[in-house]
């Protein structure tokens, strides 16, 4: 529309840049703080420009950890987070795609009850059943283990529903053609359905990876050993001690390192991310 087009666009650009500034500012401060001297920050004298301690702070953070409280290298925490996120993403996709396959492509007794049993889990996040779940994981001797970290978070129906929805859009004739071409159920799944699901799997993987990496309450409860901490739990423990002792540059470096992988995934795989986000919310 022609009316005042130039002026309105100008305003739009300004508003968007203000929005970007608001969104980016806390992260900018974190990056700046992670390159400065702790004493300066503790005095409330922090500069708004990057300092010169980048390498030493990040080296200490990744390979040593804080000099006080926990002393766990953040590099190790990142490894734990990565393993947990991958287990959640891969595990959930794997068990969901095969159960969705069974529910859509077979007719068997208790099919609908099983579907509903899985479907209902959609409604309740782990937070509402946190202590009983903790007890079961403890009884199964899975505290401080990757399986204990990942399994309870895999128990949800989002991915199953997504694959079910996708399978329903695959034309019936593909299965019929496969049957005439001599492919049985497993071969059809492997040769045809799986390749067709690639984009959906990738989009889902992106979302699940981010959600897994960002898990907090559950790892907080079930990891007691420092070497099993995830980065989200580790960063919180760094600021538990009294304020005076908090090593802010290390904390901020940890915050930056905690953001890096998921933010990278969002930016680098934006298309898949958007698709995954929109589809998992359906």
């Amino acid at each position: 529309m022609v009316e005042q087009e130039g002026f309105r666009r100008y305003v739009a650009h300004i508003i968007l840049w203000i929005g970007i500034a608001i969104v980016a500012f806390p992260v900018y401060i974190a990056i700046v703080a992670s390159t400065q001297d702790n004493a300066l920050i503790a005095n409330g004298q922090m500069s708004l420009l990057p300092g010169g301690h980048f390498f030493e702070v990040y080296y200490q953070t990744i390979f040593v950890g804080t000099s006080g409280s926990t002393r766990e290298p953040v590099g190790n925490m990142m490894l734990n987070s990565l393993i947990m996120a991958l287990l959640i993403a891969v595990g959930k996709i794997a068990i969901s795609i095969i159960s969705a396959y069974a529910i859509v492509y077979f007719r068997f007794p208790f099919r609908m009850p099983i579907f509903w049993i899985i479907f209902i889990t959609l409604m309740l996040p782990v937070e509402v059943r946190i202590y009983p779940t903790y007890k079961i994981v403890a009884d199964l001797h899975m505290l401080d283990s990757y399986a204990g970290l990942a399994l309870p978070l895999i128990a949800s129906a989002t991915a199953t529903l997504l694959f079910r929805q996708f399978f329903m859009t695959v034309p019936d004739e593909l299965l019929e053609a496969s049957r005439i071409d001599g492919a049985g159920p497993l071969r059809f799944f492997w040769d045809t359905l799986l390749p067709l699901s690639r984009t959906n799997m990738a989009a889902l993987f992106v979302i699940l990876f981010i959600l897994g990496w960002n898990q907090y309450l559950w790892p907080l409860l079930i990891t007691t050993r420092d070497d099993m901490q995830t980065i989200q739990v580790g960063i919180r423990k760094m600021i538990t001690t009294t304020d005076a002792l908090t090593e802010w540059p290390v904390v901020m470096a940890t915050a930056v390192l905690a953001m890096l992988p998921p933010v990278f995934v969002v930016v680098a795989m934006q298309k898949l991310f958007v698709r995954g986000l929109v589809e998992t919310e359906k």
Partner: protein, 293 residues
Amino acid sequence: MQKQAIFQSKLLPYLLVAPQLAVVLIFFYWPALQAVIQSFLLQDAFGLSSNFVWFDNYIELFKDPAYFESIVRTFFFSFAIAVSSLSFALLLAVMADKPLRGSMLYRTLLIWPYAVAPPVVGVLWIFMLHPSLGVLARYLRAAGIDWNPLLDSNQAATLIILAAAWKQISYNFLFFLAGLQAIPKSVFEAAAIDGARPMRRFWTVTFPLLSPTIFFLLVVNIVYAFFDTFGIIDTMTRGGPGTSTVTLVYKVYTDGLLGGNLGSSAAQSVILMILVIVLTGIQFRFVERKVTY
């Protein structure tokens, strides 16, 4: 619901659903059932025996003013976070929906905070607004505000709402943009020909057409505020000062962890489950009016 073309097999489908069924039964149904059972039991002081006490744990809860306060607080936080984040995100989305140069760049620069974990959000914001060393706190004090969220409960609440709303901007922005792009441009053109000025056009055309998206996001944001604020609260205020930022989820966590009152914690879990089921139910009722990207 199901395909016409299917495979015949007696055993295979069960093998295929078995892994998910096992995980769901062991890590979802069993604990959920435990929570329900436990909520009807009262453990003695030493945790040696427990009695079936019907709804005593629930009655105790609702008699407890602290619990009632945390319900009110949770809903207040939820609405404050949802409304502030939604309105800011809508403004940005409407701007980004215009045919601007670099609109893809804007999108990229606005969506990445989705990936920042709640505890990290808490750390970032407490650092900026820390009473003694925060860079923004300096300006607030210079402006004559006695800023200390670690002591002042209203300020603590404000801080949490700001941080949580900040994180949610990108998610809301993305869905608003999708919703806006799904509206055919010809509708705006028709409104323009009908003589509606841009502001009027927004309130009479865009906003009503976007209302399914707005409703959907409102529910999602409220559920988000219920659960994902845990990480923010735990890193920023730990529920303090006092119990002034304790939400329902935070209370389940602290009561179970510190108080060791399992019956009460379980009853709280059950109430939370019911709340979420109601919210999800509301959302499902409107599921067919969802946006499509």
